[in-house]
Point group: C2
Chain length 302, copies 2
């Protein structure tokens, strides 16, 4: 099997490596050519200096797997491919696109006879070694064509990947996955903060994290990573208390609102990230001002 991989960033490059190590031919295209050359040398991928050059190296039906940043870069590439590909060709969006965009793009490509599938991809920087968790949405015949690639990327041929539903459902499922991830992370963060705050017990957070990895109810991969990190450093003095958020966490909360289904913990975990991003603290300034206004409580001065 030969597929093209567009977008050889941290995720895409490792996926190219994993595909190659499972005997799949990979045509690699990336805006910056440096990583392409590196993957040619290290993994024997077939280089492409342009979209056209990549397409020319693919047998019909062409399979192009996108690992581009969500939003404009993916949108522009899909529009470009809509003009360049032929009926029966297949585009997989393996990035973190909003599932509504994926549904729209699927329809846009389908109008030209081009097949589309959206693949949510979890596993981060550990995917190369452990395999990726893949949730793909699309038509069965489309997914059948790319199954060898899914089996190579997954932790094993028979697990860690699944056809979850029609176009859109792959990114939808990945979105919810990330929403859950936010909630789990926040729960751990709050719990460890409480243990650290109980100074009289002088609890070794690294010891507790490691301990909980074995037979506790909260054992999880996130805890494994936390235990590793805390073993290196549990004071975290050099870490800015700023937590970024990517699209999926927000989209999950919007989905809850759209459906009218309560997702209080997922929403609050997201809100806490927003709060961490707000270094000005204007709401807190307002609260301090109000307390002063009605109760004469002192305002702490900067």
């Amino acid at each position: 099997m030969r597929i093209a991989l567009f977008g050889l960033g941290r995720m895409g490059a490792n996926m190219a490596r994993r595909l190659r190590r499972h005997g799949i031919e990979v045509v690699g295209y990336n805006r910056s050519q440096e990583i392409v050359q590196r993957l040619v040398e290290e993994e024997g991928i077939l280089p492409a200096a342009s979209v056209a050059e990549a397409i020319d190296q693919l047998p019909a039906p062409r399979v192009i797997w996108l690992m581009l940043p969500s939003g404009a870069p993916t949108e522009q590439m899909v529009l470009d491919l809509a003009d360049r590909l032929e009926p029966g060709d297949i585009v997989i969006d393996g990035g973190n696109s909003n599932y509504h965009d994926s549904q729209r793009r699927g329809a846009l490509l389908a109008a030209r006879g081009i097949r589309f599938a959206d693949c949510g991809t979890s596993g981060g920087i550990w995917g190369l070694e452990n395999g990726y968790c893949l949730m793909i949405g699309g038509d069965s015949d489309t997914i059948e064509v790319v199954t060898p690639a899914l089996q190579a990327l997954a932790p094993a041929a028979d697990r860690g990947w699944a056809h979850v539903g029609p176009v859109g459902s792959g990114h939808f499922t990945k979105m919810v996955h990330n929403g859950i991830e936010y909630g789990m992370m926040q729960a751990f963060a709050e719990g460890f903060a409480l243990m650290r705050g109980k100074e009289e017990f002088n609890i070794d957070l690294a010891q507790v994290a490691e301990l909980w990895r074995h037979s506790s109810v909260v054992r999880s991969w996130l805890l494994d990573l936390t235990a590793d990190a805390l073993a290196q450093d549990q004071q975290l003095e050099t870490v800015e208390p700023y937590v970024a958020d990517s699209g999926e966490g927000r989209w999950t909360v919007i989905e809850g609102v759209d459906q009218g289904i309560a997702t209080p913990v997922l929403a609050l975990a997201l809100q806490m990230r927003f709060n961490s991003q707000d270094k000005e603290g204007y709401p807190y300034k307002l609260l301090a001002m109000m307390r002063n206004a009605f109760g004469g409580h002192a305002i702490k001065q900067r």
Copy 2:
């Protein structure tokens, strides 16, 4: 080594079994004698029909491990043992006591020279097979005496148990563990509800749960259990939407308030359980009434 185990309920009985299977002599006492006789026959424990009879079968320093319901039953037993034991003897509370109670009981027993340790125990009904995750608080010399029992109960002699700090810290750590558990569970529940709510995708929740077990960021023991349960039944029609809560979830939230440390997700996960327990829905009735009062919005009638 020989220890007494008081309280042979679901947890205690399985712990007796695991101790026996690791060659530790167990003197078993329980208010109802039926389980005692069963464990005599099945595991060869030494039966005790009373507290005094149990104490008589122990060599000095006596080690008595309590697996009683938290609150009054544990309190009464500690007071009883305070009168019966001798200096140097050891009481371990392996139940789910509030850590403030454990600190108080430790001091009460220490005043009579009796040693005390509080042991948080996680693992539930799976502990017999997999071992228990044990977090114990107390003096090092006390814990040294009971280390063979900890090693037998833990998943392995060198992991899944730890001396986390002074008296109180064992139950404190277990309390926070359970608080985190509430948050993780709620995050999963909200996410799966969103996937179920997206009817157009007709997502197989059992398939997704199983899929996520492999290489995803949310993989965890709670997800393993969820995948197993959803594989049996994902409509859950016979399950009442009522979630009980035990002490630890509440105590964790109170601890956050005591420390003045924000635990919004842990608190909200607990509040959602309270909400599930409220079948009357009086707050919702009030809200409907208010909407009607200011906006004339119709009240849905029973």
